[in-house]
């Protein structure tokens, strides 16, 4: 089942890019591997958010909650009971799915407009952050450390960063393929109906609540997996970074810059911006932490004003003009 877009010349191009990503960690140092990991991590997260936020048009901030559900569940289960983070990850994802279903139900039960849904989910982000911060058992404000003493694949523990690189590469490829499949499936069609015209979709007999449940559950599940990954890879989690509003805003802005609801938007956004931000930090110096975020802010303002459909949308428009003109 290879999508049409992957055949022919496009297929060769993609195979080349894939080969590049498979081989590159053997040619660069740890610094670059970490930047690549960060880039892929954001591509993964943006793509997961894009399923419900972009394709489904439900402006959801709650993804940091899902991320925290993954990170905190696997970390505490391993610490307290020695349960492998691979299993903890799935339990965390289960919790995230339940949270996602609850939020979707809330959204539909009360027919919240787009804006309210955004606000409710942002409210839940702060509630989650305060709750985590107030429990000693979850490390409160100071966060939790995950000490990795030896490589132990069964417990998601590696001393080298290279295995983590391949894990996130695999996860990212998986979510991109999943998005491609969904965009071509009935679910993708329904999700877009949910975004574009709820009333018309409802009138044509689509059960929007079930569409929202499916999209949200998938998105929440995938995001929680990234939470456990983040904890194991970095070895440290705290409420401010994992459960705070910063990460989700970055995810939304990266996706906006790439293009909402498209297959490649959430890929292009982080692929361009994460390395640019890091390079910028490198040139200016890490004394000026946060300057990369200012740059993201400026870029997103410019993109929204000049390419309202993101980089991918802009290219598509150019392409259409060229086809018509030629």
């Amino acid at each position: 089942m290879i999508p049409q877009a992957l055949k022919g010349r496009n297929g060769i191009l993609l195979a080349g890019i894939l080969l590049f990503f498979i081989l590159i960690p053997h040619f660069v140092g740890t610094y670059w591997i970490l930047i690549l990991i960060l880039t892929l991590f954001f591509i993964y997260m943006c793509s997961a958010w894009n399923l419900i936020g972009g394709i489904g048009g439900q402006f959801c901030f709650a993804h940091t909650l899902f991320l925290a559900a993954g990170a905190y569940t696997s970390t505490t289960l391993y610490r307290d009971f020695g349960i492998s983070p691979w299993i903890g990850m799935l339990l965390g994802a289960g919790i995230a799915v339940l949270l996602g279903l609850f939020l979707s139900w809330l959204n539909f039960r009360y027919k919240l407009p787009h804006l309210s849904f955004a606000l409710v989910t942002l409210g839940f982000v702060y509630i989650g952050m305060f709750v985590i911060s107030s429990f000693e058992h979850l490390g409160s404000h100071d966060g939790l450390s995950i000490l990795i003493m030896e490589t132990d694949p069964l417990n998601y523990a590696f001393l080298s960063k290279i295995p983590y690189y391949y894990i996130i590469l695999g996860m990212t490829l998986g979510v991109i393929m999943l998005t491609a499949i969904i965009l071509r499936s009935k679910l993708g069609l329904y999700l877009r109906a949910l975004r574009d015209n709820e009333k018309a979709a409802e009138a044509s007999g689509i059960n929007l609540l079930s569409v929202m449940y499916k999209g949200m559950a998938l998105s929440a599940f995938l995001t929680a997996l990234a939470g456990t990954y983040y904890a194991q890879m970095l070895g440290f989690i705290d409420p401010e970074t994992v459960a705070g509003p910063h990460m989700i805003i970055e995810m939304i802005l990266f996706t906006a810059i790439g293009g909402f609801g498209t297959l490649w938007g959430p890929v292009i956004g982080p692929l361009l911006l994460v390395p640019i931000g890091q390079a910028f930090l490198n040139v200016i110096g890490t004394d000026y932490a946060g300057i990369d975020l200012i740059l993201y802010g400026v870029i997103v303002v410019a993109v929204i004003l000049f390419m309202p459909h993101g980089i991918v949308g802009w290219f598509e428009e150019l392409w259409e003009k060229k086809e018509k003109g030629g």
């Binding site: 402006f59 027919k111 804006l115 409710v120 839940f124 000026y288 975020l293 200012i294 997103v300």
Partner: protein, 288 residues
């Protein structure tokens, strides 16, 4: 009993301050149906201008109002003209993204210029208190309460009794019809948006001695607070904003007193969710 009255009064005054912060946002929302996620960050921008003025000239924040307000007017006009106006007809989510971009720009610029350490700016009344028998009131809170009350009454009067107020109400009820009736909707939107930001030039300095310590990254939190008040009170309803602010302020004050200090900040959000569950149109809003 005395403690109960004390906590109630503190909460009441805090609530008025929250309502003051939310009123600009409510006004802009009523007129443009836009939510400015950078609202809280713009307030912190005004507060950090006060910090800079204090460091350079030793200026008291209450005097800085005369500098921050015109600066915020100019900023409001620029933001509206170059950023908001082009998006008025676009999908509402575009404005959210744009203002989220502004959040990143403003809050991180403040971190860059002033570091993310906690800062304080002294005023001539920061430490002073008023004793009413056993009840103790902090003077800055009384001042903020006074400003909030005056601003609310001012808005109320403008909306009720002036031509400008009538056109504002007309647009918030039905902007297309208002346009057909000959109201210059674009101009009213510009004025209201600018007023909303200019108000922050007054609110910011007044809030400084009330919250005492400020951190550049608290802006989004403030915005959300203002949103919560907007939703609790009923979107686009000024009296609602005042009542919403009071409820949140009082609930929070009791939370700090009877629960733990780390759980109390979650109370406003819990109220927010409850209101959405049981009365999604807000306390003062009309059923949809």
């Amino acid at each position: 009993m005395e403690i109960f009255v004390q906590v109630l009064l503190d909460g009441f005054m805090w609530g008025a301050v929250y309502a003051l912060i939310a009123s600009g946002l409510t006004m802009v929302y009523a007129i443009t149906r836009l939510l400015n996620f950078a609202h809280g960050d713009l307030m912190f921008l005004a507060m950090y201008i006060c910090l800079a003025l204090y460091r350079a000239f030793g200026l008291d924040p209450y005097l800085s109002i005369f500098i921050t307000t015109p600066l915020m007017v100019i900023l409001g006009l620029l933001v509206f003209h170059f950023l908001i106006r082009p998006l008025l007809k676009a999908h509402i989510l575009m404005v959210i993204q744009l203002t989220l971009g502004l959040v990143f720009i403003i809050s991180n610029s403040l971190v860059l210029l002033f570091t993310s350490e906690e800062e304080t700016v002294p005023t001539f009344i920061t430490a002073s208190k008023l004793y009413l028998g056993p009840i103790i009131l902090r003077t800055p809170l009384i001042v903020a309460f006074g400003v909030a009350t005056m601003a609310s009454l001012g808005f109320y009067w403008v909306l009720r009794s002036t031509d400008f107020g009538r056109s504002v109400r007309a647009i918030s009820q039905n902007s297309e019809t208002a346009e057909l009736m000959g109201i210059n909707v674009g101009r009213v939107q510009m004025i209201v948006f600018t007023l909303g930001i200019a108000l922050l030039g007054i609110v910011g300095p007044v809030v400084i001695p009330v919250i005492q310590v400020m951190v550049p990254t608290m802006g989004l939190h403030m915005t959300l607070f203002a949103f919560i008040i907007l939703v609790v009170g009923g979107a686009g309803n000024f009296l609602g904003a005042l009542i919403g602010g009071l409820i949140i302020g009082i609930a929070e004050a009791f939370g700090y007193f009877y629960l733990s200090a780390s759980l109390a900040p979650a109370i406003p959000y819990a109220i927010f969710v409850l209101i959405l569950l049981f009365r999604p149109q807000g306390l003062m809003g009309e059923a949809a």
